[in-house]
């Protein structure tokens, strides 16, 4: 389990990194945290001809608190997000999710941008970003563009990134008033790939009726999966236990879970239903708590 040969580059700037990626084409990979890429290389399942190491690029790291949104540099490490007081205040769903991402040693290296660009269907951050209506800043030699998380994830390990393009930053919008959040996940062991996970943000109006509910699931499709049927089931209703149960059941229409040795598609459907109900329940409880 030793990696194959590759050319290694450590650019001094994002511009240089983009130039290197453009120069080496499809056989070059950006090396962010490397916590998915390096194991794949050790198994020799990934054999990139060149690695462009982004780890020295301080301009890509950091957490910024803006008026409308929280901004995370792509090379912000998971541990920094997990420990950040700003994130806890501005994007508590993200904070709640971080301990589910693998193990502490992995989070010390893993990066936000790396997780998003990798787009593993069992990864937590893509679903949280979709639930949070985040948007990503993509940059290439030809310029920059913003893309909504929902549109960024295009399939199984597939994203809207063009060749030579990097995720450089993430913006997570501020929570609306009377918004509750919750992340629920079941995995075989703590830190394993989720069998199913659910991230949700629920906003109620002053009368306690559901205004919006963003529900995104992981490990139930080719990427993070939004649950519009569940959202629709909640629209305008009081989040009673029955209403939440009905919304959770509605998730079944939104997902097409895979089977693997740890969980059949049927079991994943069960888990999706249960975890969605639990997540919605906790999110609504949080609104009640903060309102009281």
């Amino acid at each position: 389990m030793k990696p194959p040969v590759f050319d290694y580059f450590r650019p001094a700037s994002v511009d240089e990194a983009l130039a290197l990626l453009a120069e080496h084409g499809a056989d070059a990979k950006a090396l962010a945290g490397g916590q998915s890429l390096v194991p794949a290389m050790n198994f020799r399942l990934a054999q990139p001809a060149a690695l462009v190491d982004l780890n020295g690029l301080d301009e890509l790291a950091g957490i910024g608190d803006g008026p409308a949104a929280l901004r995370l540099g792509a090379m912000t490490r998971h541990c920094a997000v997990e420990r950040s007081a700003v994130v806890a205040k501005r994007a508590p769903l993200l904070t709640e999710t971080m301990p589910y991402v693998a193990h502490p040693q992995i989070r010390n290296r893993g990066t936000v941008g790396g997780s998003l660009a990798h787009a593993d269907p069992a990864a937590e951050l893509p679903a949280v970003m979709v639930a949070s209506s985040a948007r990503f800043l993509l940059r290439s030699r030809s310029g920059e563009r913003w893309i909504d998380a929902e549109r960024f994830f295009t399939g199984l390990f597939a994203t809207a990134l063009e060749p030579g393009e990097l995720v450089t930053a993430v913006e997570v919008p501020a929570l609306a008033p009377r918004t509750g959040w919750a992340f629920e996940e079941m995995s075989r062991r703590h830190g394993d790939y989720a069998l199913v996970g659910v991230a949700c943000l629920v906003t109620l109006d002053a009368a306690g009726r559901c205004v919006t509910a963003r529900i995104a699931l992981l490990s139930v499709g080719e990427g993070p999966v939004l649950a519009p049927s569940a959202t629709a089931a909640l629209a305008g209703v009081q989040p009673t236990p029955d209403a939440l149960r009905a919304a959770a059941e509605a998730v079944n229409a939104d997902i097409d879970p895979p089977s693997d040795i740890h969980a059949s598609a049927a079991f994943r459907r069960r888990l999706a239903t249960v975890l969605t109900r639990r997540a919605l329940t906790r999110a609504c409880e949080r609104i009640a708590t903060s309102a009281s």
């Binding site: 490397g34 050790n42 690695l51």
Partner: protein
Amino acid sequence: MSVQAGHVVSLTVNGSPATRTVESRLLLSDFLRHELGLTGTHVGCEHGVCGACTVLLDGEAVRSCLLFAVQADGHAVETVEGLAAGGELHPIQAAFHETHALQCGFCTPGFLMTLVPYLREHPAPTEQEIREALSGNLCRCTGYKNIVDAVALAARRGAAAGRHGAEAAPARRGGSGASRRGAA
């Protein structure tokens, strides 16, 4: 010079500078073990699950099997060999010894290196928090109980000394004979 071979890596390991010329693909774990002869860092899975190869990179616990040696250029690495200063066991090492927190000892360096920064940041963890902190390290021999006890012991001593975690408490020499301690 090829960009695959011939990368000069200069880093600090356990406080001492080291410079080697390596191939780009050389894993940090192999670099430490076979280039620098620091074989206390063990390799158990090479895909980032078992935690045996955990070392500190600039003070943070990382899997050395998921880093290339070239990435450590200019950084500080600490390994298990650096823990016992001047022959005195580090408090977490001493606690492992006293609570019988190791059997074959193969996974132990990875646990120790995970715990050193953890206790620095979490001086008074609960049992559940300790177990969560350990969840990225696999041990096949002990069933973890005594490791949990060791962390709690080291934390208590750190707290008793009024200092934080691992830096606190006088270390006891290991293997210096039998104590008549009661059940753990």
